[in-house]
């Protein structure tokens, strides 16, 4: 019975979460666009001191050399200490031209992103990731505050809408400033990352290959830059999800099997205890079919109760998860049908043998049974 509960619980939960999670991620990717490629310094993540970098000219010519590129945007980086919720934290500040937001697919959730004129005029304005904005200013959503970056005050003019983390910057917790200001603050024009937007209908792997080849040429055959796309993240996530589903699914399968055997034992004991009852029923005119059906239904009921409890537990867990992660995970009806159907199937499968034993009993012997 417990095995049944655990098994159905696992099946329903796994199905719901993997389906709900997948849909969640997919919807995010759809808004992010799967046609984004990012190239960034390979040493960025290892944080060694000697960085390979690109110049502005090198970046801009890539747009002409690689025909699959619709648009691109260089990205400058720095880390600044900032007091967030009373604690000092390292916050990523990225300096970009105004087209970055289009290339990356970022929309303002409030206020606006900066313009070309503001970039050209070295305007001290900034846009803040949604998460960081809430952490800094609370949910009052008041723009116009100022943030101090390397001794310069930047006025917040917009909040960036939520975007999935991709590449070295998580825009949700970062600050964006005009590239002109960033270069002035950094005192360098070095470019450590480039964001590409592929042309409509272009094969992303092909574009990645072209970018990689071009960068290798620039760096004399060395792969100093990594090139990543959103869709490879997607396929990786898919793989991970698949593995999780498989592991939990096999656990579910085993526990349902064990539960089924347990139910078979319960039914066998029940048949033995009720031998006399079976004899009475047979004497009163119950056919083999009547008895078989009676015990099958009983085993089915046992399994359904187990399955129902499993589904209830799973609904509870999924609700808790969706509250905890503030995302709309939902129990899929497919998961419920599958989980419940499976438990009923197991009930019938493991109920047949005990029911057959009961139906086969000789009425005379059954009546004599003490």
């Amino acid at each position: 019975m417990l095995g049944m509960v655990i098994g159905v619980f696992a099946i329903t939960t796994v199905l719901s979460i993997s389906k709900g999670g997948k849909e969640l991620i997919l919807s995010e990717f759809l808004t992010a666009g799967t046609n984004i490629v990012m190239a960034f310094n390979a040493q960025m993540e290892t944080r060694t001191d000697k960085f390979a970098y690109l110049t502005e000219d090198q970046v801009m010519t890539m747009k002409e050399i690689i025909p699959q590129v619709d648009d691109l945007s260089p990205v400058h980086f720095m880390q600044i200490p900032l007091k967030v919720k009373g604690k000092m934290k390292q916050i990523t500040v990225f300096g970009v031209p105004e087209n970055f937001f289009r290339v990356r697919g970022i929309k303002a959730s409030s206020g606006r992103m900066f313009t070309k004129e503001e970039v050209n005029r070295y305007e001290k304005v900034c846009v803040v990731g949604k998460e960081l904005f809430y952490d800094l200013f609370g949910k009052t959503k008041k723009l116009g505050q100022e943030i101090k970056v390397e001794g310069t005050y930047f006025r917040v003019i917009g909040v960036m809408g939520h975007k999935m983390e991709f590449g070295p910057i998580n825009v949700n917790t970062a600050i964006g400033i005009p590239s002109s200001c960033a270069m002035r603050l950094l005192g360098s024009r070095d470019i450590y990352a480039v964001q590409f937007l592929a042309k409509e209908g272009v094969s992303i792997p092909l574009l990645k290959k072209r970018i990689k080849e071009h960068l290798r040429q620039i760096f004399g055959g060395r792969d100093d830059f990594d090139v990543h796309s959103v869709d490879e993240l997607l396929s990786m996530l898919d793989k991970v999800m698949g593995i999780i589903s498989m592991v939990l699914g096999s656990i579910a399968g085993i526990s349902i099997l064990v539960g089924g055997i347990g139910i078979m034992n319960i039914m066998l004991v029940s048949v033995r205890e009720r031998t006399r009852e079976i004899g009475i029923r047979k004497a009163c005119g119950a056919t083999k079919g009547n008895i078989l059906l009676q015990f099958l239904i009983e085993s089915l009921i046992l399994c359904s109760i187990g399955g129902g409890m499993g589904i209830l537990a799973s609904v509870g867990l999924v609700l808790i998860i969706s509250i905890m992660f503030k995302t709309a995970f939902f129990i899929s009806s497919l998961a419920i049908i599958l989980g419940f159907g499976f438990s009923c199937l197991v009930g019938i499968f493991f109920g047949v043998y005990p029911a057959y034993i009961a139906a086969k009993l000789n009425p005379v012997e059954a009546l004599r049974y003490e």
């Binding site: 009475i280 009163c284 005119g285 056919t287 083999k288 009546l367």
Partner: protein, 226 residues
Amino acid sequence: MNPDFIKLTEITKVYPMGKTGFPALKGISLSIDRGEFIAIMGPSGSGKSTLMNIIGCLDSPTSGTYLLDGEDIGKNSDKELTRIRNKRIGFIFQSFNLLGRQSAMDNVLLPLLYSCTTLRKNRKRITTEALERVGLSTKLRNKPSEMSGGEQQRVAIARALVNNPEIICADEPTGNLDSQTSHEIMEILRGLNKKGRTIILVTYEADIAGYTQRIIRMKDGGIIKE
């Protein structure tokens, strides 16, 4: 028409036991007319219960022929035997054999459920009538554990009657009852016989057998005296 309602010819029954098996019945030939009230007597192990089980279609003989109303029972399938048990035969047992978790009503209802011919709306009326006939109209909802032995046996009789069978097989129906109650039960059975039912009673008590019209004495699997 066949004059014999129940006709047994050279019936044997061997229970598988050891190498040769245990012969419980050794060639029984017996005729019972419609409407007879017959007692089968004998010491324990004489084969009287086995004989009654064969007559009641609960068991089938190893050899010999059994004609019930001209129909050869030996040729019937398990399903047909079940149907005969359900429609034509009612059983009363020494240990009552009621379903302990169900009320008197539900116990009596059982044969009706399996016969599938009675309309749902009529079932309640028929079971109530059957219980009224044995004087239990006030205990319809009682469970067997809440009733005395005599009352339980009367529920069993009501159950045996509910499908209006022609034959009632009673296997030591008074074996677990005191003599006062035993006589009450036997009066009910005598009343049923007067209404035309064939009753076959297995007992070892001489005064109980005294209620019947005909006594068959058995010993070691054979009939020794009629």
